[in-house]
Symmetry: C2
């Protein structure tokens, strides 16, 4: 049955969408059957895939219809439309709706279900994502607010596990937007790594470098790992997928 991985942290603009899309691509490149679900009404992941999700949207999914669009890059997509924003209004406080749609029959279809999460304090939509998740990948942008936010989010995850009565595992903390030449970035990453190592929280060895190739790819209408796969910074997402798969084998 598919493993469901949420790409999640409350801080904004730290690379959740970039990670969800490129990690999905990387897994698909290794022959895995992947479903990407865009849980953000802003629809950034959906736009990056250049797909019109009418009829195969996350809103449809919440309303009880499972339908996904097949992309050219080996993964399927359930994309976000504007009406997804009405779900928290109409179904405030209900957190099990997404999990209920990811039935065993859906989960036999895929090896991995990746969920791109919206930013902000946990409320109806992200909590639906969390309830459906087996694991989370937590992007840690190499800056102070973002790093503090990861520590805070891990605490939140642990108390959510209490509430949920089950354990959402941390697949790993992923350092993103890393400027290796900046002493501040290096210090922030070193401190976070030391703190998480002490707590037994896994951190991916792969770090995603800060590079203009990522926003440029979006501007030009491409998925970075599809169009620019030999670019040093972009390759890091294939390395991430490979590192993740190697850990899977070793469990």
């Amino acid at each position: 049955l598919a493993k469901t991985i949420a790409v999640m942290v409350e801080k904004g603009g730290v690379g959740k969408t970039t990670t969800a899309v490129n990690f999905s691509t990387g897994l698909a490149n290794r022959g895995k059957r992947v479903l990407l679900i865009d849980l953000d009404p802003q629809g950034n992941a959906t736009n990056e895939c250049g797909i019109d999700p009418t009829g195969s949207s996350t809103y449809d999914l919440f309303k009880g219809t499972f339908s996904a669009a097949v992309t050219k890059w080996g993964f399927d997509l359930i994309g976000a439309t504007q009406d997804l924003a009405s779900i928290p209004l109409d179904h405030s406080g209900r957190y099990e709706m997404l999990a209920a749609q990811l039935t065993d029959s859906v989960r036999t279809h895929y090896d991995y279900i990746i969920i791109d999460m919206p930013p902000g304090t946990l409320e109806t939509l992200p909590l639906n994502g969390l309830y459906a998740a087996d694991e989370v990948i937590i992007p840690l942008q190499a800056e102070q607010h973002a790093s503090d936010g990861v520590a805070g989010f891990i605490d939140t995850l642990w108390s959510q596990n209490e509430v949920l009565g089950r354990e959402v595992k941390i697949a790993g903390v992923l350092v993103t937007m890393y400027t290796a030449s900046s002493p501040e970035c290096r210090q922030i990453v070193q401190e976070a790594t030391d703190a998480f190592d002490d707590l037994g929280i896994p951190i991916f060895v792969t770090k995603i470098p800060r590079s203009r190739i990522f926003p440029n790819a979006v501007r030009r209408g491409h998925i970075a790992l599809v169009k620019y796969k030999s670019h040093k910074a972009v390759k890091a997402y294939q390395d991430l997928a490979d590192e993740y798969l190697l850990r899977e084998v070793n469990r």
Copy 2:
């Protein structure tokens, strides 16, 4: 009476907090009486000011107690604590609570009330901020998703104005994290500027350059416009405050 300005857009990590804190500093530098309200449970603005908001928090404000901390930089702060996250849970669907606390008596105390908003689709906390606002400053990070998000957010603002039955004005769109040497950034900003000019939406002449001085300042525990005010990129926030004040005079 104070004018209330929300720094607001749904996209994450585009410089809302950096703008709220440095714009407040810039206004205070010109002798204006400023109150900064941190409406984000993540408390990034509060941390940047290095202030413990216990007893003078936004949570206290929602619960009916007005109390602000006086900072060393000429503005007062009502800071965010973790319990602010419980407001949307306990008072879901109530959007007038913040406005009700910003009484005429409070508003005679200040020239400007600046609200730092959380990211994400509009829900209880940001809607409280919007209901309390006279104007919004909309940060536009010079990247595709962020630019699309500004256009979408302006639509959302207009339909909210229908719902509110009053007009929250757009004080201006502020280009942030602008890499002038990047053709992609220049194109994105040009397209946005052309589109908004046609719609009569004001865009600040001042643009905030992308620069490591901003995350470095946060890392080192400083407000950029306080500690690095002669830095070319940081000065832009004083220019922004001055541009805003000049427009005020000219209305």
